[in-house]
C-alpha cells in the first residue's frame, strides 16, 4: 500500500505510514465511512444565552474547567460559562465519538452530568444526539448540529 503523501510502500493493513505518519488511503476510506455514520461530527454545545461552543473533531473531548495550577486543560473549558460557580469539575465529562455515534461519559464529577434532566452514572457512557439537553453541574447546554 503506497502512501500518497511520501510514496513510501507500507505493508497491507497498516493504518498510518511508517515513514511520514500520514493516514493511509485504505484506512482513511474506512475512517470516512465511519465518519459518515458518526452523529458526533459537526456538533456544538449551545448555551441558553445563545453562545456556542464547538465540539472539536477528536475521538475524546474532555469537558471541564481549566486549572493551570493542577495542569488541567480540558478541550472544552466551561469557566466562561459560569463553570466555577456552577459546580463544574476540572475533568467533568468526556464526549466520545465512535463509529456508532456520540456518547457522553461522566468522569466521576462532584455535581454530576445530566442528559435531558436525568443524572447519568459515572463512567457509563450514554448516547447523546442533537436536540438533547446536556448539563454539567448547574451549567446547561443544548446539543446542536453545527
Amino acid at each position: 500500500m503506497k502512501c500518497t503523501e511520501c510514496n513510501m510502500e507500507n505493508i497491507e493493513g497498516a493504518i498510518f505510514c511508517e515513514e511520514c505518519g500520514a493516514k493511509l488511503e485504505a484506512a482513511a476510506a474506512s475512517d470516512k465511512s465511519m465518519a459518515s455514520d458518526n452523529e458526533g461530527a459537526g456538533l456544538v454545545l449551545a448555551s441558553p444565552s445563545g453562545s456556542k461552543l464547538e465540539i472539536p473533531a477528536k475521538s475524546e473531548v474532555v469537558v471541564g474547567r481549566e486549572d493551570p495550577f493542577s495542569e488541567v486543560f480540558p478541550d472544552l473549558d466551561l469557566t466562561d460559562f459560569g463553570g466555577a460557580d456552577g459546580g463544574v469539575s476540572r475533568k467533568h465529562a468526556v464526549i466520545h465519538r465512535t463509529d456508532t455515534g456520540c456518547t457522553i461519559e461522566d468522569m466521576g464529577s462532584t455535581n454530576g452530568t445530566y442528559v435531558n434532566k436525568k443524572r447519568i452514572q459515572p463512567h457509563a457512557p450514554q448516547e447523546i444526539k442533537p436536540g438533547d439537553e446536556v448539563r454539567f453541574g448547574k451549567v446547561a447546554f443544548s446539543l446542536q448540529a453545527a
Binding site: 493504518i15 515513514e19 511520514c20 484506512a27 475512517d31 465511519m34 472539536p56 495542569e71
Partner: protein
C-alpha cells in the same frame, strides 16, 4: 473463580481482506483491576532521592519541602520511607524506616539548604541502598528521583542502576523541573525500571506529582505483571508498545522469535495498563484465523497469589466482503495514531542527534501534521516552533524538546 485482574483484547479489524499478501494487524491488550478488587493491599517501601543543588534554591526548594511533608502525612505507619539528598555530595537524611516519625521527617527537610552541583548517580545509588534495606516482595518498592540539573559524565552509571532496579521490581519515577536537565536520561531511567517520568515547568506542581505518586502506590492491584503472546505459525510479532503511564517502545526487550514477553512492573488499579502489539499475518484463505494466545500473569503477595494466569485466544476472520474488511476499530485506531505521533517525534530527535537536520525537519513536519489532525494543537505548535529553531540554529530548544518528548508519550494519559 474470581480474578483480581481482567484482560480485554481487541484487534484493529475483526475482518481482514483476502489479498494473497502478508498484512499488518494491531492488537490492543488492556488489563484492569477486577470489580470488587481491593486496591492498595500492599504497604509501600518508598525512597525519595532529591536534588539539593544550588539551582534548587528558592521556590523549587520551598515547594519540594512542602511535597515531602505531604508524603510524610499520607503514608501509613506500616509503610517504609527514606530520604536521600544529593548535590555533588550525598546525605541520607532519613534512613529507611517506618513512616510514623512524620514530624522528624519534615523537621529534617526544613534544615536542608540548596548548594553545590548535580551528581545523580551517587544520589541514586544511596537511594537504592535505602530501598533495598526495606525491600520485600509484599511491598510496593519504589524510588522517586527529582532533579533540576544536568548530571555530568555519570549517565551510564545511572542507567546501570535503573536496569538493576527494574530487575528487582523497584520502579523509578523520575521528575525533572525547569528546562536544564537531560530528558533522555530521565525517561530511560523510568523506562528501564518500569517507572514513570514527569516534566514539571512550575515548581508549584511538585506537590501534585508527589501526590500522584503516593496515590499510585496506594492503588497497586498486582505486581510482576507480564504479558506473553504466543503467535500462531506464520504470524510475526513486530512491535510492542506499553502505553501507561506513558507510551514506551518495549519491542527490543519484549519481542523474541514468534513470541512476545512484556514485563510491565506493577499495575496501578485505577489507571490499568494497555499494550499495543503490531503483528504481520501471512496470506490466508477466507475463514476464521487464530492469531495467537495472549496470557497475562501477575502476583498479589498480600493474598498469597503467585504467577496467576489469565489467557485468551485472539481471532480474526478473512473475508472477500470488502465493506466488512474496511471496518476499523476506532479505539485501536486512536491508540495506533497516538503511538504513530510518538514514533515520528522520537525519530525526529534521533535524526537531530545524528546531525541529519533535513531528515529531522521532515519528521517534525510529519509529526506536526499528525498532531494537528488529532486535535493536539499545542503539541503541533511546539513541533512547528522546533522546525523554525532547527532551520535557524540547527538545534532544538531545551523546552521544546521536553514538550515533545513528554507530550507525545503522555497522549494516552489525557483521561487518566
Amino acid at each position: 473463580m474470581k480474578n483480581e485482574l481482567n484482560m480485554r483484547c481487541v484487534t484493529s479489524k475483526n475482518a481482514l481482506p483476502v489479498t494473497g499478501a502478508e498484512q499488518a494487524v494491531y492488537a490492543l491488550v488492556e488489563i484492569k483491576a477486577g470489580t470488587g478488587t481491593s486496591l492498595g493491599s500492599l504497604p509501600t517501601n518508598f525512597s525519595l532521592v532529591l536534588d539539593r543543588s544550588g539551582s534548587m534554591d528558592g521556590e523549587k526548594m520551598d515547594n519540594l519541602k512542602e511535597a515531602v511533608g505531604y508524603v510524610a502525612d499520607h503514608l501509613s505507619d506500616n509503610d517504609l520511607v527514606s530520604v536521600t539528598i544529593f548535590d555533588d555530595q550525598v546525605e541520607t537524611l532519613i534512613p529507611n524506616q517506618q513512616a510514623r516519625n512524620r514530624g522528624e521527617i519534615k523537621d529534617r527537610l526544613t534544615k536542608v539548604i540548596a548548594r553545590g552541583g548535580t551528581q545523580i548517580s551517587d544520589g541514586l545509588k544511596a537511594g537504592m541502598a535505602e530501598v533495598r534495606k526495606g525491600y520485600a516482595k509484599d511491598r510496593v518498592n519504589r524510588i522517586l528521583l527529582l532533579t533540576d540539573g544536568q548530571t555530568w559524565d555519570d549517565e551510564d552509571a545511572c542507567l546501570k542502576l535503573a536496569d538493576e532496579a527494574g530487575k528487582q521490581g523497584i520502579a523509578i519515577t523520575s521528575i525533572g523541573i525547569g528546562d536544564d536537565w537531560n530528558e533522555k536520561l530521565l525517561l530511560q531511567l523510568a523506562e528501564r525500571s518500569h517507572g514513570n517520568s514527569h516534566w514539571i515547568q512550575n515548581p508549584v506542581s511538585i506537590l501534585d506529582a508527589f501526590r500522584q505518586e503516593v496515590e499510585g502506590m496506594q492503588a497497586v492491584a498486582a505486581v510482576n505483571l507480564r504479558v506473553t503472546a504466543r503467535m500462531s505459525p506464520g504470524v510475526k510479532p513486530k512491535r510492542v508498545f506499553a502505553t501507561v503511564p506513558m507510551i514506551s517502545d518495549i519491542s527490543g526487550k519484549a519481542v523474541g522469535g514468534a513470541n512476545i514477553t512484556a514485563d510491565l512492573g506493577s499495575l496501578d488499579g485505577k489507571r490499568g495498563q494497555a499494550i499495543l502489539i503490531e503483528a504481520h499475518v501471512p496470506a490466508q484463505k477466507a475463514g476464521r484465523c487464530r492469531l495467537g494466545q495472549i496470557e497475562v500473569t501477575y502476583d498479589l503477595p498480600s493474598e498469597g497469589i503467585k504467577a496467576k494466569s489469565i489467557k485468551t485466544d485472539v481471532y480474526v476472520t478473512f473475508t472477500d466482503d470488502a465493506a466488512a474488511a474496511a471496518k476499523v476499530n476506532a479505539e485501536v485506531m486512536n491508540l495506533v495514531e497516538k503511538v504513530s505521533a510518538f514514533k515520528l517525534q522520537t525519530r525526529a530527535l534521533t535524526e537531530v542527534e545524528a546531525g541529519n537536520i533535513a531528515a529531522a525537519t521532515r519528521k517534525l513536519q510529519s509529526a506536526a501534521t499528525v498532531l494537528l489532525t488529532m486535535g493536539e494543537d499545542d503539541l503541533a505548535a511546539a513541533a512547528e516552533q522546533e522546525i523554525l529553531s532547527l532551520k535557524k540554529t540547527g538545534t532544538l530548544t531545551a523546552a521544546g524538546t521536553k514538550k515533545l518528548e513528554y507530550g507525545t508519550r503522555k497522549l494516552t494519559m489525557a483521561l487518566k
